[in-house]
Amino acid sequence: MAGHLTRLRGVRWWRVVVLGVVAVYLFGPLLSALWFTVYNSRLHQFSLSPYGQMFSAAGFLTSVRMTFFLALTTIALEFVLLVPAMIAIHLRLPRLRPVLETIAMVPLILSPVALVAGVSTVLGWGLNDQGSWLFRLDADLQNQSFPLVLPLFYTLFVLPFAFRSLDAGLRAIDLRTLVEAARGLGAPWPVVLWRVILPNLRTGLLSGAVLTLALVFGEYTIASILGFTPFAVWIVQDGQGSGQLAIAVSLLSLLLSWAVLFLVSFLGGRRSAATPARSA
């Protein structure tokens, strides 16, 4: 018995040490960033001014607004494509599930850098003959104030996350019964979708949308290589100038997106944990 107890205590110590080291590593940079932005080591004084300055910084509001609309476009495109497909594989075509899962895995492994090299080539092709519809389409896609080409590819890279959230949402409800009941009462498909399925999918849709928003706000690779300036690219460009401001913006955006994501997935987790028996 005594041996058992000491063994247990040994296990616990080991666990505390491991979790402690990892926690220091994970929280260290964030705390350093916070300290760096509020304490001026030359003047030896505290100040929250970097957090106030950001709103008047050149380009900040423009890039935030542009990124927000890019995110909204991505979310809309994502759901239009994914929701009907997910419902179809849940109801009628379970055979296609592995195919969709594999498609949703590809962006996790495929490097955006490799893909964007191809994208820039394709965009270059359209610019060959001026005045044609292809040229105009190409130019519209690359409009500096709202580059539509970005959401087209963001939609692909968000796919894994949206797929998971929607899948979890669809599993949590008894989709078949709901649909059969609604259809039996004479509702056409659009009504079933709009008034029965979507309201029940709220949590899944919300978490998918929030994940997309966070991803689009953090996306740097595609946008910077194609030469656009959404939020993340703006931080880097601005970071060359004043140190404190860029770090303040970074920290704030990280904490904000993490807080929202945390809240949404925690609520989602609580809800699905509360109704475990319904899917069985």
Binding site: W14, L115, G118, R171, R176, G269
Partner: protein, 306 residues
């Protein structure tokens, strides 16, 4: 909610026996119609750039005559000189950080799986999903504040590694695990929680030691998940661009930063398509990892469901 990598529950959808309803054929057509846009979309938007990459990587314009010919010169060149150095640098960095993250992540996940608090587990799972996928540029800037030239913890790190600089290979080795460890935790935690206490008791009752348990039961069950997690970490490190670019501005030779600099025109005349060849190299390596990862995932998923 596990964000990125929880295993699929194959077969859950078709468990209920179904009666063949009249008009099923038409319904199936409708279902295909609902899936088709997604399939077409992903085929076009993944396929078109890949095809463009492949086509361009095989073409080269001679700067003297202006003639464009099909050639494998781009590929040959992408395996030599500074381009090989970049590929090699990426592979070395990914391997090193993936090994570190896999070990630390596994130990962390084990420590968490042992604890009883449900809230802790849910919090860790959510936090891992968030940390693993939503860092990028802002994270790099936090590290600049922590360990950059004027960083708060730079002095502390230099006591251990005197020549430490954030914009070097060593610096990247410090930063990459920040998003790889959570990825590993996210991948292995469900498998570690799936290990039943009864299996360990059964092994003990049959006279097996702790070592025997891990050697013959725990280890083999966990192995596919561990390998899968490792491959995922490796792939994630291999294709990372934003963090490396923000921290080093391309001073550390990596394939991603090299491709980006070639695309933006930082290359000799006539070699513009080298970036495309390197892109294809990357896709091939990613494809190989995918081919390793997918069967592993399916294997570990089998244990998690029962």
């Amino acid at each position: 909610m596990a964000i990125a990598t929880d295993p699929p529950r194959i077969g859950a959808a078709e468990s209920a026996p179904r009666t063949r309803a009249p008009g099923r054929r038409r319904g199936n057509l409708g279902a295909w119609g609902a899936v088709a846009p997604l399939l077409i979309y992903s085929t076009v938007f993944l396929g078109l750039p890949t095809w463009a990459l492949l086509y361009q990587s095989l073409r080269r314009t001679d700067p003297g005559s202006g003639a464009t010919t099909f050639t494998t010169a781009n590929f040959t060149q992408s395996w030599h000189g500074i381009y090989l150095t970049a590929l090699w640098g990426s592979l070395r960095l990914s391997l090193l950080t993936a090994v570190i993250s896999a070990v630390v992540g596994l130990v962390t996940a084990h420590a968490i799986a042992q604890s009883r608090g449900r809230v802790l587990k849910q919090a860790v799972q959510t936090a891992s999903g968030v940390l693993a996928n939503f860092g990028g540029i802002p994270l790099a800037f936090c590290f600049i504040a922590a360990a950059g030239t004027a960083g708060e913890a730079t002095g502390l790190i230099r006591k251990v590694i005197p020549s430490f600089q954030l914009d070097t290979f060593t610096g990247l080795v410090l930063v990459y695990p920040y998003f790889l460890i959570p990825l590993m935790v996210l991948t292995t935690l469900p498998a570690l929680e799936g290990l039943r206490g009864q299996w360990r008791e059964a092994a003990q009752n049959l006279g097996g030691s702790t070592w025997d348990y891990w050697r013959h039961i725990g280890g083999p069950i966990l192995l596919p998940t561990l390998l899968g997690g490792f491959v995922l970490c490796f792939g994630s490190a291999f294709s990372a661009y934003a963090t490396a670019q923000a921290l080093t501005s391309g001073t550390v030779p990596l394939i991603t930063t090299r491709i980006a600099s070639v695309i933006s025109g930082n290359v000799l005349a006539g070699q513009e398509n080298l970036g495309m060849a390197m892109g294809i190299d990357m896709i091939l390596i990613c494809g190989a990892m995918m081919a390793v990862y997918l069967p592993l995932r399916a294997r570990s998923a089998r244990w998690l469901d029962t």
